[in-house]
Point group: C2
Chain length 333, copies 2
């Protein structure tokens, strides 16, 4: 196992420590239990947003803490849910007095731990709403999931709900817009290589030199099928087709297209995928009016990519365009 | 070879086409000869900035075209210099009537081709100045280089000189500030794995499972030494030490610290490297006042990282902070 780490058991703590050192004006890192919050603390009168999950998907979630997005993020161990003892203080740190929205990817551990934390916060007087993200159309149930998995669409939920909170929407309204994004976003990914969890020390699954896994999960969970070394255009069709079909996209609709890298794939290849995905949407008469291309929800050093499509309406587009200032997503400020 | 590409010979064209589709308000892609310019065209009365070089280092250079940075970028074939027939129209497209600065990484092919293009542009009445970037302290001469190689420091030259051009500095002044950045920036990188050039189809060099190349070039050129699987903290010392020594950093100085990924390394590992690099600078009494962590100058899917330190003065810091709107670097707008 070749990695730029020290002790495999310390990698999350050291990485988040470095993250805090690199962005001192933006975030505060709280080491034990580990969570990351906005440097300025909760904003009084603003709905708080908290997300979290296993580490290994950086910049998700700590990279999205800041103005117009999250108030706090809770990194678990690599590919392991954070526990309520960390989610609770993160929720308290995000609470500006008018309630907190938890944005939770649909994995059994995450769902249980955020639910427990939400109940304990409620008992202390913090009203919590939960938005569940389950955008992965690849498989119905999976290794760690009942129902669909939550993947790259999470970033879009965090951005748009975050902008709604920033403009002063109520707790119910922020949860509702987050829900609307979650209902209108779909994703599917593929892997060219496996990744290695540091404390495991070996690849999380086996993939032959001439095999590609279509419908991979962000923890290397099995997908729909294995195919041979097909050209990028054909591979992109395997992803875009199910995404657009499941979304029921019709001609004349407007979408945001996110081509996301799994961590080990060159940006140049993501743009090759973007090119074909945009062509396929154009063939369906769908207009791509917003784009995002890069490593936003990763799986350590896995080579691969995912395609995410969000059906936009005017309000969502406006909230997408609103200013954001986080380590990994920034514009307008 | 597993890559998200179609025909290996078409990868640059298709990737840049996808880049143009993803960022239509920002850039225009000119297919033959291939170059990328600002969507709005040259800004009258503003000094133009052009850079370019072999592809495979994305987001360098097309990802830095836009407000406050480059006016045009010229992508060559993978790891191959662009030719004058592309550099000339890019320079013309960048010319706002008051001259153009070429920012050139120190590789023999790039230097010759930009020089030829500059002479031909001069013959047509466009005054061109050249800023040469040679920030890599690892080796004195290299495979494709007489003198030091130009690596990740290039991004800092492009950003700061670009901000100077945007505020209305003269051709001489923009070239001078670019030169000052080039003189005050040093870098060094390491590789855990090799990368594979698409049309070659096999890794560009051999590295055993228990070897790491210290001082690697961004085309996989040999570095200073091979070491075993050392912890990230020790590896970071191999990079930061020579960089800081060569720069002659003294206690009390202020710097920008860039930890750059080579393309295949997880962001979480880059923050582990950042943590140690910042600690080592603090040990020397040097203050890190600006930071950048991510994939900015890459080598396809190579796993590895580089450390870049720029000695700042007040003017450079102000120009760094100035608004920038490109695909890969954006703030203040």
């Amino acid at each position: 196992m070749k990695k730029l780490i020290n002790d495999p058991r310390a990698v999350v703590d050291e990485s988040v420590e470095g993250f805090g050192m690199a962005h001192p004006g933006l975030v505060s890192v709280h080491p034990d239990p580990l969570y990351v919050s906005r440097a300025g603390g909760a904003v009084p009168g603003k709905v708080g947003l908290v997300s979290g999950g296993g580490s290994g998907h950086e910049p998700l979630h700590a990279g999205y803490v800041g103005l117009g997005m999250l108030d706090a993020a809770v990194p678990g161990a690599v590919f392991t849910s954070p526990t309520p003892d960390a989610i609770i203080p993160a929720t308290q740190a995000a609470d500006g007095g008018v309630g907190v929205v938890h944005i939770v990817k649909n994995y059994t551990g995450d769902v249980l731990n955020f639910e427990t934390a939400a109940e304990m916060c409620a008992a202390e007087g913090i009203e919590v709403r939960t938005v569940l993200v389950n955008d992965d159309v690849a498989v119905e149930d999976s290794l760690y999931t009942a129902g669909r998995r939550g993947v790259a669409g999470t970033v879009l939920v965090e951005k748009i709900a975050g902008a709604a909170a920033e403009r002063g929407d109520s707790l119910d309204a922020v949860a509702a817009i987050g829900e609307r994004v979650a209902q209108n976003v779909r994703s599917m990914g593929l892997a060219l290589t496996a990744c290695t969890v540091p404390h495991a020390g070996k690849p999380s699954f086996e993939l032959a030199d001439d095999e590609i896994e279509i419908g991979i999960g962000i923890h290397g969970e099995p997908g729909r099928q294995r195919v041979g070394l097909e050209p990028a255009d054909a591979l992109t069709e395997h992803l875009l087709g199910p995404v657009a079909d499941d979304l029921g996209l019709a001609g004349g609709e407007q979408v945001l297209l996110l081509v996301n890298g799994m961590g080990g794939t060159p940006l140049s290849e993501l743009y090759v995928v973007y090119r074909r995905a945009a062509q396929l949407l154009a063939d369906r008469g769908v207009a791509v009016v917003r784009s995002l291309v890069g490593n936003y929800v990763t799986s350590l050093e896995m080579q691969g990519a995912s395609v995410t499509v969000l059906r936009l309406d005017d309000e969502m587009t406006g909230l997408w365009d609103a200013p954001v200032h986080t380590a990994a997503l920034r514009w307008g400020v």
